[in-house]
Amino acid sequence: MTDETAQPALILTVDVNQRNLALLAQVLQQAGYRTLPVSTITALDQALEAPISLALIDISGFGADIWQRCERLHERAIPLLVISARQSAALRQASAAHGARDMLVKPLVIRELLGLIRSLLQ
């Protein structure tokens, strides 16, 4: 949430798993954010033009074409966090190379996630 806008910050959540999306939406909305959930590349492409403050991208289930979308968000100066199912040095490197601020490994700890989002939006 930025201080200037009256509207709560809009967070783009990307995940192929609907239940994951629902849980993310629940947690983020409880913390006072608005969410824009997408679960496919096509939907993601459409969502890229929205007034997004931050993006959470769970790369599980996506192909290499997800990196290009990460770059586009980065180009628009939208902070993004990549979420991965496993700890991997190669993935961490790829995330950083495509503009991610950090790579988080599932399962996420809710309190830590919210802290990170808050600091990125300041």
């Binding site: 995940d15 798993n17 609907q18 239940r19 994951n20 849980l23 993310l24 947690v27 769970d58 599980s60 979420i83 199912a85 599932k106 399962p107 996420l108 700890v109 809710i110």
Partner: protein, 488 residues
């Protein structure tokens, strides 16, 4: 006997009479009890009995985290356990959980499920105000807790929550070496262990705050009527009665050998090789008891009832008319049908209900082979002591392995059981096979130190004069002292 009970000593029946007996009456209200054991050990069945024993106004509540309600109800019905007044809170995973829709990995289950689960439980408990709760299985909460500390805190606060409402909780734990449950054992007010070993089910209580309980592994059965528990008989600490009343055998020479007979309430071992007449000797005492109007029971592990009856008639023991008069009962114990605890219960109940005075166990070897269980001899000891304390005279038939040769009473470790040891053995005398009877031990009186010849005839048991000029009576071939002199 009625004991006025203070309100603090009220008990809640577990729904299983044998278990109530073990727990000195049942659970204490407002406490939390743990049932632990491996898969299929009967934990859930025990819980069903516990809830089923509740009055409808106790609003019994079943919280299930594993099995779906329909399946539980179905199982209860099959076991004949009435669960109609039991309320259910189903926290088991739905079938949809398996499909994509329900699974998630973004957060840990501990973070996602804990709060809603806890809310559902507290809401249900506050709405129904149950006095009995069964929770199956507490260990599921382990997956909803971030770590061991959180799990412990959650369980403790849940136990306090129920305790504040004076609710009695029974909860299960799926324990295995990989997932120990010591933490739950510390928190519970009482622990019931269930296990299956070599096809026998055991139940053991190791902790029961604020009350006595019967320790040791008790056997139980899961059958068409649910669970039955057979409390193990422990040698009770009653003072021993030293009865001097002697029971006559009805054969004057045999009584002379015993210096009057065997004392009431003692344990007598009848030893000897196969076919020598041990059972007949025991039945002779019973014939005499019947004449005094006393009831006797023979527990036969080997022979069929009809064969025993037939044989008795052939040697002038009127077993059929004794049976008809109720002074004799012969019970055939089918092999591998009973556990030792169950058998002990059978014998005890008969003594309590019919005032039986004489009990014969035929034989110890059969007992050992036919019954399931652990520590069979210790249990036979406990049973014999129980009978003795109830002034029942016990006859134990002991088969010795060797038909001839050097004499040995029995496996040495069992002979301490007997107050009296009477033996019958084959003797070779002047090239002829004969039988002799003797006494090896008699705790309460003196006895003849010589052997007497014994014969079982159609008129009954015939015992001769003391064989006082025989030596080497405990060896294979006794010799006449006079003959030996003439030889030397």
């Amino acid at each position: 006997m009625t004991i006025a009970r203070s309100p603090s000593d009220q008990r809640l029946s577990t729904g299983i009479p044998g278990l109530d007996e073990i727990l000195s009456g049942g659970f204490l209200p407002g406490r939390a009890y743990l049932v632990r054991g491996g898969p299929g050990s009967g934990k859930t069945t025990l819980g069903m009995h516990f809830l089923s024993a509740a009055a409808p106004e106790e609003a019994p509540l079943f919280i299930t985290l594993t099995e779906p309600v329909a399946q539980l109800q179905n199982n209860a019905e099959r076991l004949g356990i009435d669960m109609r007044h039991v309320q259910f809170l189903d926290l088991s995973p739905s079938p949809q959980f398996f499909t994509e829709v329900e699974t998630y990995d973004i957060f840990s289950p501990a973070e996602v499920e804990r709060a809603p689960t806890a809310r559902k439980i507290t809401e249900t408990v506050e709405r129904l105000k149950p006095q009995r709760v069964f929770l199956d299985a507490m260990t599921q909460f382990r997956y909803l807790a971030g770590d061991a500390y959180q799990f412990r805190q959650q369980v403790l606060s849940f136990l306090h929550f129920l305790k504040e409402r004076n609710t009695t909780l029974l909860f299960t734990s799926e324990a295995s070496p990989e997932t120990p449950d010591e933490d739950l054992q510390f928190m519970a007010d009482g622990i019931i262990h269930m296990r299956v070993a070599a096809g026998i089910r055991f139940l053991e209580v190791t902790k029961f705050r604020g009350s006595n309980f019967a320790s040791g592994a008790h056997t139980c059965k899961l059958g068409a009527t649910g669970m039955q528990v057979f409390p193990r008989l422990l040698p009770d600490v009653m003072r021993e009665r030293l009865s001097t009343e002697q029971i006559s055998s009805g054969v004057p020479e045999l009584d002379a050998l015993l210096h009057g007979g065997i004392e009431r309430g003692t344990i007598t071992m009848l030893c000897g090789p196969s076919g020598v007449g041990k059972t007949t000797l025991g039945l002779q005492f019973m014939k005499e008891a019947a004449a005094r109007g006393e009831r006797s029971v023979v527990y036969s592990f080997e022979e069929e009832v009809d064969i025993i009856l037939e044989r008795c008639e052939a040697v002038n023991i009127p077993a059929r008319s004794m049976t008809a008069a109720g002074t004799l009962q012969i019970v055939k114990i089918e092999p591998l049908q009973y556990t030792a605890d169950e058998f002990a219960r059978l014998v005890r109940r008969d003594v309590q209900e019919h005032g039986t005075c004489l009990v014969m166990i035929d034989s110890i070897a059969g007992y050992r082979l036919s019954l399931h269980g652990e520590d069979l001899e210790a249990q036979l000891y406990a049973l014999s002591k129980y009978l003795q304390h109830h002034n029942v005279t016990v006859l134990l038939v002991v088969e010795s392995a060797e038909i001839t040769g050097d004499f040995r009473v029995t496996d040495a470790h069992i002979s301490y059981l007997g107050d009296n040891i009477i033996f019958i053995r084959y003797l070779e005398m002047r090239g002829e096979m004969r039988k002799a009877i003797g006494v090896l031990k008699k705790r309460l009186s003196d006895f003849e130190r010589t052997l007497r010849e014994i014969e079982i005839t159609s008129q009954g048991i015939k015992v001769g004069k003391p064989l006082s000029d025989l030596r080497g009576i405990l060896s294979g071939t006794p010799e006449w002292i006079t003959e030996r002199r003439s030889d030397g």
